[in-house]
């Protein structure tokens, strides 16, 4: 058993192709700019910047039931960051999730997607981080999960199963635009990390690429071209607007983890890259889901304002909450106004799962694009005491909104709301992490049982 363990530990240590250009530091300004663009497209800031004043200094906290996990400092600080990494070490951390001292990162760091980063882009990224990012001598708090979850070596096994160890290369069958889109979607932007469902061990399910997945309190919907379950009915303009601004008018808004993707990454992509991603998204195989009607095409303006306003007894709690809270912004007939979106023809209220509506009510929306903040307050535990809504109120208003403006077959129970309340207290951009961690632990348990069995046999 011990020998197997050593073998497992050594396998991923196999040297990756040594980088030849580590010598030409510090890079030309073109190279640095290219590296900066790669860092934006790869959305490094979302998880590695905890406070705006200290970009990439890490320390973004993720509360999990097992303890708090902190992202690492990736500024060129020698003591606390990546200052001492040579390019090969940097590449290995980014693409394989292994630090120079051999410790493994959890796949909260999306290195399975980043493993496709081309050598040229990785070089630019390295040069950018080494020469254009200010070193921050702060050490993020140590992540210390209790046994057995602190066995980062369990990642070795997971990597063997799921890490592709393959660089991106265009294929003969695809146009250069689609190839660029594939590189952006699958590798740099790692869209599948959230949008592709995971199997038992939290490896991506094959044949379900971008088919939609649960992400803590949120659901990252199906974004394949399927007409009912996917985004096949969206126009190119709508999709481009969504990725550039977080809003596709009368269709969808980016909240939660997707809001962060738009805020930190896709809003800055050049139009050519946005078009390339759209071309690729049109091209991926459709994944059929449960939906019987496109989620963007449910509901209409209306409501019970005329019949219930002013009544003091026997008033439906759903309407009462809607009228007293939501209508303030979304207006009495749910039609929205200016920055406030309509609640009908809205992918959240037309979805075939209630999660995103409940999550929106609990945690709100906050997304800063082009200097403007789009903000809906949450009404969960983080809200001011006077603004908090109870499970009963949220249940009632969610059901009212589904019935009145959205997919009428959706139904929320108070226990669903209570469950989401707990799930969502986790930082949203790293929600995916928890689920992956779950798979890793499943592995640890399986390996542990296996070891136990072996020992028993020997004894």
């Amino acid at each position: 058993m011990k020998r197997i363990a050593t073998l497992l530990a050594v396998l991923p240590l196999m040297p990756i192709a040594a980088a030849a250009w580590a010598a030409d530091m510090p890079g030309s300004s073109d190279l640095i700019e290219k590296g900066r663009q790669v860092a934006v497209a790869a959305d490094c800031a979302a998880c590695h910047t905890a406070s705006e004043g200290r970009p990439f200094a890490g320390g973004y906290p993720l509360q999990t039931p097992l303890g708090t996990i902190y992202s690492t400092n990736i500024t060129p600080s020698v003591k606390n960051g990546i200052g001492a990494y040579d390019e090969a070490a940097f590449a290995r951390a980014v693409r394989e999730g292994v630090k120079p001292d051999g410790t493994h990162l959890y796949p909260a760091m999306p290195y399975p997607a980043y493993s496709g980063i081309t050598d040229a882009d990785l070089h630019a990224l390295y040069v950018y981080f080494k020469s254009a990012v200010a070193p921050e001598d702060v050490s993020p708090p140590k992540t210390d999960l209790g046994f057995p979850f602190n066995i980062r070596a369990s990642m070795i096994l997971w990597n063997m199963l799921y890490l592709p160890y393959q660089r991106f290369a265009p294929t003969a069958e695809e146009t250069p635009q689609i190839a660029r889109g594939r590189y952006l979607v699958d590798t740099l932007e790692h869209c599948g990390t959230c949008h592709t469902p995971r199997g038992l061990m939290m490896g991506p399910q094959s044949g379900k690429d971008l088919g939609g997945a649960q992400l803590g309190a949120w659901v990252a919907p199906n974004i394949t071209p399927d007409l009912l379950s996917g985004i096949g009915t969206w126009s190119d303009e709508a999709l481009a607007s969504y990725l550039k601004t977080g809003v596709a008018a009368h269709l969808a808004q980016a909240a939660g983890p997707m809001g962060e993707v738009v805020e930190h990454s896709t809003q800055y992509l050049p139009d050519g890259d946005i078009q390339a991603m759209i071309a690729y998204l049109r091209h991926v195989p459709s994944v059929k889901g449960q939906a019987v009607h496109p989620r963007s095409e449910y509901g209409a303006q209306g409501g019970d304002e005329a019949s219930l306003r002013g009544l003091t007894s026997n008033v439906d709690l759903g309407w009462k909450t809607f009228s007293g809270v939501c209508a303030t912004c979304h207006q009495v007939s749910g039609q929205g106004r200016n920055q406030y979106p309509a609640l009908f023809h809205n992918t959240v209220t037309g979805a075939d799962s209630p999660d995103n509506l409940v999550a929106t009510i609990l945690f709100g929306v906050r997304r800063t694009v082009d200097g403007q903040t789009h903000y809906m307050p949450g009404f969960g535990d983080a809200a001011a005491w006077t603004d908090q809504l109870s499970d009963a109120q949220i249940t009632a208003v969610a059901n009212y909104v589904f019935k009145q403006y959205g997919n009428p077959s959706m139904h929320v129970s108070a226990s669903d709301v209570a469950k989401e309340r707990n799930r969502g207290s986790l930082a949203s951009s790293m929600q995916k992490f928890l689920s992956i961690l779950g798979g890793v632990f499943a592995l640890v348990v399986i390996v542990g049982l296996f070891a136990l069995l072996l020992r028993r046999k020997r004894a």
Partner: protein, 174 residues
């Protein structure tokens, strides 16, 4: 006298047949309107009855798109506050029909009895304010749907509703 008004008051809550006929047929009308509306036949429906609250309201306010649900609630509430409202409505309806008045201006230019003018004003007031009755008797029926807010809804948002950040324009460079 006391007994009479009491029974009338109760009758407005628990509608007595005679009093509520107009309202009931109108509610029926609403249902039919809903059905027909869906099929694309919206107009026509309330013209049959001279005492029809919605039709009278339409002439008094000069609007042909009044909400039938609100009309039913205003009528019921006016009846709650003024026991003889159905009778007054009936009289006003007949005056309008006989004079073939098409708008409130020509109606008010005629030699209207003070009590009929009062009835007309109570109906107009309900639609515009969204409130029936006064002081501690006031009953709120509509807020954002009150007619007083409608002329400027294209630009202004009804008080207490949000128009959205920056709805008044960009922050000036200070």
């Amino acid at each position: 006298m006391i007994r009479l008004s009491k029974s009338l008051t109760r009758s407005s809550v628990m509608p007595e047949r005679r009093v509520m006929l107009g309202r009931r047929s109108m509610l029926l009308g609403c249902g039919v309107a809903g059905l027909l509306g869906a099929a694309g036949y919206s107009s026509v429906l309330y013209a049959s009855d001279q005492t029809d609250f919605l039709k009278v309201s339409s002439i008094l306010t000069g609007k042909d798109d009044l909400d039938p649900t609100l009309a039913a609630r205003y009528e019921a509430s006016l009846t709650r506050h003024q026991a003889d409202f159905p009778k007054r409505l009936n009289i006003l309806g007949h005056i309008i029909a006989q004079g073939s008045y098409k708008d409130v201006e020509s109606l008010f230019a005629s030699s209207l009895m003070p009590s009929d003018r009062e009835t007309a004003m109570s109906i107009i007031s309900a639609w515009y304010l969204g409130v029936v009755g006064e002081a501690d008797q006031a009953e709120l029926i509509a807020f954002s749907d009150a007619l007083m807010y409608q002329p400027c809804t294209d630009v202004l948002v009804v008080p207490s509703y949000g128009a959205g950040p920056l709805a008044w324009g960009e922050k000036p460079p200070v």
